[in-house]
Point group: C2
Chain length 232, copies 2
């Protein structure tokens, strides 16, 4: 593993505070690999042998049932995924596939569990990370159960806008069919939802979004920190 990557991983909240030698021994068992786009990294139901870290590229977490499929989340550098399965030594609940050419680090789950017991800073970081993940899913569930698809899209755009720096115009960070799945609707419906937001000053050209009337859109979307603020 190149030194720069090693340092990037070290800087993750999950690893930043732990003892040097614990981090080193965690990394000793780890390996890093490049994957092309559209490769299925893990499949739901399989045992969770490795904690995964996206070093570069991006990964889609999705689930299937009865022939249907839905996107649950997107993982971007640098962060981990399937931490909960690793901790519980339980089967993956979601599958993961690369969205683009990606570099993934794999840390044996048993090493993570062992170092957890040995390093209380690491333990605290894992707990914080898990609590964060839990709260994110709760927010997503509130979004799904309390809002219509039009409201979900409106709030998604406001979040994305803020994430992109807050300017009136910004880019969607993934293709619309995946956005539709993340928001819990069909691509056709997303297309109509964008039109439905035109009266509130939203215009779309390809992946470029422009919010021409911030106040109007916010009045419609009614964003709420207890749903839309990812940092708390």
């Amino acid at each position: 593993m190149p030194d720069s990557e090693y340092r990037d991983i070290r800087k993750l909240d999950l690893f930043a505070q732990m003892a040097d030698d614990n981090f080193t021994s965690l990394m000793r068992g780890a390996y890093v690999q490049n994957f092309p786009a559209q490769i299925e990294l893990i499949t739901e139901g399989e045992p969770s042998d490795f904690l995964h870290i996206v070093v570069s590229g991006s990964v889609d977490l999705f689930s299937t049932w009865n022939g249907r499929e839905t996107s649950m989340a997107t993982v971007r550098p640098i962060s981990t995924f399937i931490l909960a399965a690793t901790i519980k030594d339980a089967p993956y609940l979601m599958s993961a596939r690369t969205l683009e050419k990606s570099r993934i680090a794999l840390i044996p789950s048993q090493d993570v569990r062992a170092i957890f017991d040995a390093d209380s800073n690491f333990a605290r970081a894992i707990v914080t990370e898990l609590a964060q993940c839990y709260r994110s899913v709760i927010k997503a569930q509130k979004d799904l159960k309390l809002r219509t698809s039009l409201e979900r899209l409106a709030n998604y755009l406001l979040r994305q806008q803020r994430h992109a720096g807050g300017g009136a115009a910004f880019e969607l960070d993934f293709e619309k069919r995946r956005l539709a799945s993340v928001l819990g609707m069909t691509p056709e419906n997303l297309s109509r939802a964008f039109k439905g937001l035109q009266p509130y000053g939203v215009s779309v050209t390809g992946t470029r979004i422009s919010i021409d009337n911030q106040a109007d859109l916010e009045r419609f979307a009614k964003p709420n920190p207890l749903i839309d603020d990812f940092s708390t």
Copy 2:
């Protein structure tokens, strides 16, 4: 706090393995209180000063947005709620109200965080509990995004049946309007959904459910451990 309650709480997965004196000091700051039915214990958005434990009775976790409300989960004895907010020292994402006369133990959040650092067995238990909670929400989200309301009801009935011992007839454990909210539908729709399951051998009399054709219902519901199995 009576001795029997003290021992019951001690037996919780969360506290079972921790050192005696740590448990004692955790309980020293705690207090237990009786609440009547329909009392709002916590309100979303407020700071999370206490970890809550339902000793007896039951508690509804719910959320609101823009005048709408939805039930997120029901907490029954003996288990904790809002662990994640306590750990992160962040605002509650959900409100909680007693469904019936209930006895609730309250442990100051800062004590939980302090003992976490001092007791690695407690730390591990918290991580396991949080991972469990996280996975439960992921399952709930898959249920919501991948299934129709009829399918959700069918699978709920199968889960409830198993929970009740597996017999052909069993009782719903809460009122239908709340069940509707938990399943993400209106009471009217739930009523129709029950009718929609009649062809699969489901009959309903008040809160009593009878599954007359197990195989038929399962063929329709297609239960899946990665969504419906709460233990993994």
